[in-house]
């Protein structure tokens, strides 16, 4: 076989379309962003000035941005825990079923196939109409909360919708990992008298460590970039109470004073923070993975 001489070449050819799209639509804008971050371009004018690091200095004192950053951190923490725990529970539950795996897998994966903006508007209807209908007509008073207007409850709403959208994807990864755990190890443990929980915690869980790493990395990374769910549900409101860093950047670039250069500088800062945190996470969880 020719391919054996250079296995990398065939891999590269298969990756080429994706790589090309990635380079043009992700890498190039990201790199050119470094340049715009140093200008005062407003996104419409044909001319702009080079302003050095003054955008970055201004960010240090921008309380709206840091508030949004703080909200994003809280969001990431919540979504990483909620989405991963629920996804793992679902994966284990479905894997342990003798029948109907395909059916449940499809059902729980489905939200992932809908755009989160559409999902957000669907849930908006649930939060603003359905829940109130239930509260008013079926006497379920605990549902009568300001789901969009009160930041405390809208945080719950946002996490619910975001987790609903992400769980299916993570679940598939966990299921694949669970299928890779050798049954003889579990059988051996059970012969040694371990109960179901002990088997899961001491045998299965360490062996799916690589899936945990991937899933936590993915949810961390996408959590920091959260935009669509919040935009569709609360628009960042009331006021700026549920504004994520990405929404703050978007508003800076396209609304109000339309400061494109300044917004790009903010996204650079966000990028550096995400890079730092995910690097730490990868280092920690890589060390904990068990190899067979």
């Amino acid at each position: 076989m020719k391919n054996k001489k250079n296995p990398n070449r065939s891999l590269l050819i298969f990756c080429a379309p994706a790589l090309l799209v990635y380079k043009i639509f992700k890498l190039y804008p990201a790199v050119s962003g470094i340049f715009y971050a140093l200008t005062d371009w407003n996104g419409i004018n044909k001319t702009y000035h080079f302003v050095g690091f003054s955008n970055f200095i201004e960010i240090c004192g921008d309380s709206y941005f840091w508030n949004a950053m703080w909200f994003t951190l809280k969001y990431v923490l919540a979504i990483v825990v909620v989405a991963n725990v629920v996804a793992l529970l679902l994966a284990v539950a479905i894997e342990s079923r003798p029948k109907g795996k395909g059916f449940f897998r499809t059902i729980f994966y489905m939200p992932n196939m809908i755009s989160m903006v559409i999902g957000g508007y669907m849930w908006m209807f649930i939060f603003t109409k359905v829940l109130y209908y239930m509260a008013d007509n079926w006497n379920m008073k605990f549902l009568d909360k300001s789901w969009i207007g009160n930041p405390k409850y809208s945080f719950v709403a946002i996490i619910t919708v975001a987790a609903w959208g992400a769980v299916g994807y993570l679940m598939i990864i966990y299921m694949a990992a669970l299928q890779g755990v050798p049954t003889e190890l579990k059988a051996a443990a059970s012969l040694d008298g371990a109960n179901a929980w002990k088997i899961f915690w001491n045998v299965t869980f360490p062996l799916i460590g690589h899936a945990v790493t991937i899933c936590v990395f993915w949810s961390l990374n996408s959590g920091f970039q959260v935009f669509d769910v919040i935009y569709a549900l609360t628009g960042g409101g009331p006021g700026r109470a549920t504004q994520s860093a990405a929404i703050n950047i978007y508003e800076e670039a396209f609304k109000g004073n339309i400061r494109y250069g300044y917004a790009t500088a903010k996204s650079m800062v966000l990028f550096l923070i995400v890079l730092l945190i995910t690097m730490i996470q990868l280092r920690i969880s890589k060390g904990k993975e068990e190899e067979l």
Partner: protein, 438 residues
């Protein structure tokens, strides 16, 4: 081995599809070229020859009038074919108003500008500076627009856009509910208070609140600031632009804002503007701080609605009680368009002597040019009476960053996250920030 081949086939298929998607842009450029050729040919084309083809790209920000504009574009296509022997294809885009500005800016900077586009009259200055607006002063349409409307779309005597939506607006009210309890539109804040008391004691909610979208609560500042500036402190805005004023001076506006918020429907943050209009139409509340542009939704929900407009009072001085006279949506021609003749022809066609009235009436736009000779709706007439009596002011041009901030802060104020003092401080700061960027 078989399954590997199968997989390879699928992968190859996916690859081919993604490449086809990348190739999509070619089609668009081909269209543009055809359009360019078309406009050249238009000047020389004779009516006996086969019609030349051309394409015109128009982007507009009101999807709620999609049907009306689509049929108007068809009429334009027919007219061009009959009069100039050009087979025009109008590509009408209507992004949602939320994302409209973002898309427009991306298109303008990305050298992919539409030939004609709508923009808010308040943005004419900015877009003009960036060189994105063609001068329309020499066109036939310039002579038709009413003088006071023309001022709102001109800079330095140059007409830069065709006004489309120009309206006098204040507070919408349900005339049937008012008649039922013998109420008349208020002249002063005390009047408004007693109206609220009467309605409350009869179990009717006075105001409909729909604060989910930030621009809706912002309408309250839009109206009240105009009232106070035109009636009391005429130089306030001018001084704000020079960093010499403060919102402290207009603090009075919160008297009426408090009154509205205290006498409104529940769950305001969970109510969008369209849902609010629909709820108002079915009588959930007697008054709604919303412009006459909502009339379309309201009348569609309840065609028997008896809709009225009154000016929002802010204090006990009737001189401050006025309606807002503003131009919002306008249509501009992109100066770099390759189809300048066609684009100008369309701009002129919007104020066409024969067809314009029908279009404006079907969208319930207000008459704004001499070619408009239709009978306007009852609420438009009511608002126009205020204008005729001199009880109107030109919409204040407040920087959009400050307007957005007003909306955000009023949401926070409604849910109790901020105080009047903090709002004043933050708005002053937002205004100064915008000033410092100029």
């Amino acid at each position: 081995m078989k399954s590997k081949k199968f997989l390879a086939c699928i992968l190859a298929g996916v690859m081919a599809m993604s490449m086809a998607a990348c190739g999509g842009t070619d089609v668009a450029t081909a269209g543009d070229e055809a359009a360019a050729n078309g406009s050249e040919a238009m000047e020389t084309g004779a009516s006996t020859e086969a019609p030349t083809e051309a394409e015109l790209n128009i982007m507009m920000s009101f999807p709620q009038y999609m049907d009306q504009w689509e049929s108007y574009c068809h009429k334009f296509e027919e007219k061009m074919l009959a009069e100039k022997n050009v087979k025009v294809t109008v590509n009408l885009e209507m992004p949602s108003s939320d994302q409209y500005e973002t898309i427009l800016q991306t298109r303008l900077t990305g050298d992919d500008a539409p030939d004609l586009f709508t923009l808010h009259a308040n943005n004419i200055g900015t877009y003009n500076q960036a060189g994105n607006l063609a001068d329309l002063s020499g066109e036939a349409l310039a002579g038709k627009i009413y003088e006071n409307v023309k001022e709102t779309v001109s800079v330095d005597g140059k007409l830069l856009a065709v006004p489309i939506e120009s309206q006098a607006w204040g507070v919408l009210y349900n005339k049937d509910i008012f008649a039922q309890y013998d109420l008349t539109p208020p002249e002063t804040l005390s009047d408004l208070k007693s109206i609220c008391e009467t309605l409350n004691s009869n179990g009717v909610t006075p105001f409909l609140l729909a604060f989910q979208e930030q621009w809706v609560p912002q309408l309250m500042t839009g109206l009240t600031l105009g009232d106070i500036v035109s009636g009391k402190i005429p130089d306030w805005l001018e001084r704000m632009y020079k960093d010499e004023g403060s919102y402290e001076e207009v603090k009075e506006i919160f008297d009426v804002i408090d009154l509205i918020m205290a006498n409104g429907t529940d769950r305001a943050m969970e109510e969008g503007s369209e849902a609010g209009s629909a709820d108002f139409a079915i009588g959930k509340a007697a008054m709604y701080v919303q412009g006459t542009w909502a009339a379309n939704t309201i009348m569609a929900t309840n065609p028997d609605m008896n809709l009225g407009v009154f000016a929002l009072p802010i204090n006990d001085d009737p001189n401050c009680t006025r309606v807002n006279l503003s131009t919002s949506t306008t249509l501009a021609v992109y100066p770099g368009t390759q189809n300048m003749d066609l684009a100008l022809a369309f701009a002129n066609y919007v104020l066409d002597d024969a067809d314009s009235s029908e279009l404006f009436q079907s969208c319930s736009f207000n008459p704004l040019a001499t070619c408009h000779n239709y009978e306007s709706s009852s609420w438009v007439k009511e608002a126009s009476e205020y204008v005729a009596a001199g009880k109107a002011y030109q919409d204040l041009v407040i920087p959009s960053a400050v307007t957005d901030e007003q909306g955000r802060l009023l949401q926070e104020y409604y849910v109790g996250d901020t105080t009047v003092e903090e709002i004043i401080q933050k708005l002053d700061l937002a205004f100064q920030n915008t000033n410092s960027l100029k």
